[in-house]
Amino acid sequence: MSQVKQPPAVTAPPQAGRPASWVRSVLSNQQVLLAVALAVLVIYFTARDSAFVSSSEIVVLLTNFSTLILLAVGETFVIISGGIDLSVGATCGIAGVVAAFAMRGMVNGHDNEALVLLVGTLVCAAMGIGVGFLNAALMNWARLVPFVATLATLGAGTGMALVLSNGVPIGSDSSALSFGAEHVGPFPYLFLIIALVVVIAWVYLHLSRYGRYTYAIGSNAFAARAAGINVRRHLTSVYVLSGLLAGLTGMVFYIRLGAGAPSSGDGFELTAIASVVIGGVSLFGGSGRLTGTVLGALILTVVTSGLIISNVSPNWNQVAVALCIAAAASLQALRALATPGRRS
């Protein structure tokens, strides 16, 4: 079983076209179109107010992007595997609160700042991994579908974060805040660290057997199992990965707020899923690229800040995000129609 090298059920990711059709594939490539859309948005918002591309605003944009992208990366793995993870926002909240409790004493005792943040990061990671295993357990043992299992942990996580914290932010850590604000040029340290994580995730998804298995299961779990992939174990690891990245996002929230706020991730699962959908990852699983998700998250970040900088009424924000999703999704559907034979 284990000597199966290339699972037969793998549907080639969209980029794997023949070299002969290189030019055509670039032009019909979702990533290229997203990059163009992103450029148009940046130019538009800059035209409305040139402060949009000022160094300080780029720091703001990249910090916001850093808050969203890890959730979106985890969600990309899950959605490509054919599932969905609704619990990521709640995981941020509970991980941030528990870590803040762990760090509060250290902050008050004036422990070394780097040590405090390291402990917080480890606690957040452990919480996230725990939620990931819980999700997998609900699916594997209680036989819940991913939507229901992660909906349950979403509710439980949100509630527990409120119960533990009494609803108020925990801790007040000004050194975490100053770390969050440190940057080289327009690049916050936080962003540079997270960018590295995203690159590692990209390699994992697109260049490793782990990634190929993920696509295989998302395309056809039945065939993947027949090909000798331990589907259950692989899916467990996918949800644990998503939980881990969500837990780490809880730490990003802590660094941004100088406190563990129970509601900090509320609703962010939908923003993460929106990034993935805009990025061209199919909700049916088995296809999509991480670069698409990165561009999707960038577009959402740019739209959110751009509307504020352009002084547009905040009620339009949700409408604008909805338009982005609808446009990206219909683009994907039209492309699938235009290039028959290619799975989208």
Binding site: D49, A51, F52, S54, S56, E57, V60, T63, N64, T67, A137, L138, N140, W141, A142, R143, A152, A156, T158, G159, M160, L162, V163, L164, S165, N166, G167, V168, P169, I170, G171, S172, S174, L177, S178, G180, A181, F253, R256, L257, G258, A259, A261, S263, S264, D266, G267, F268, T304, S305, I308, I309, N311, P314, N315, N317
Partner: protein
Amino acid sequence: MVNRLSIRSKGARRGLAALALASAGLLAACSSSSSTPAASSGAASGSGSSSGGKITVAFNMGAEADPFFIAMNLGAEAAAKALGVTLIWQGDPSVYSPSTQIPIAQQLLAGHPSAFIIAPTDPSALQPIVNQAISQGIPVVNVDTHVNDLSKVLSFITGNNQQGGAAAADAMAQALHYQSGKTYQIVVGASSATTTTNTARLQGFEAEIKAKYPGMQVVSEEYSESQPAVANTNVNNWLTKYPNLAGIFAIDGTNATGASAALQSRGLVGKIALVGYDAYSTNVALLQKHVFTALIAQQPYQEGYTAVQDVVKYLRGGKSTSGIQHLVTLPNIVLTPSTSSSVLTQYTYPNA
């Protein structure tokens, strides 16, 4: 094959058992600590509610885990203890909505409490519940928010959000050393367009500015959707858009958290006036560090205390309304870095 199947079903059973355990634990965690086991027996005899009998007061609210209601719970418990009555405290843990409040309220009324105190999440949707209680002969008090028809309600105890907004404008003007003839750019961080307390605070704030500080201009208002990180993003974007920003009015606790973090991380403490709402202990600590110029505090503890006191007075006084005010409006309190620490402690919401 048979063997494999049995293992599977065992695994599934174990999983289900774990799930059931987990949900039971969750339920236990959610139901409030103040509902004592004796509550049900008290409720059964409570319908008589003669002046000498055991009094059971049912208290129902929107989002129970909101620090505002947690503080209110402490006040209500203190009053119940002082007056020797039983308090049943129940509400949805985190959802502030009539759809979750109504079933809980119905459940409470089914237990025939001696009195019913409610913070309705919607003025129309909760009216039938209030009517039902009154028709059962149970006296009703409204706290914080109210139903449309207050004519048969014993009393309504609330904080004055409009006055709080005006007080915030005064605190802002003082912090800016307001001089007429100069202009000041102000931004407002709110939670959503439909939160009634936010609207009342903003109305009070804007009316006060119009009347007394015409040089203060509200240049932008953004929503946090109750997420501190979104509030933080809003403030960071404002700092780009308005390099000469003079002040921020953070209209609730979420916005206060996000805004104070933004000013601290950008090194703008003391350069931009920040008036916040809600005396979370973290916010009070930041007030003492001058990150907040002023904090506006509500009095949830007092609201809870007064509500319980009113119904007990009514029940023990032979159901006479004499000495009970129909409308009690508790002012919002302005806290500044120079406020004495005993006063600060009094208004700080309880922390975890």
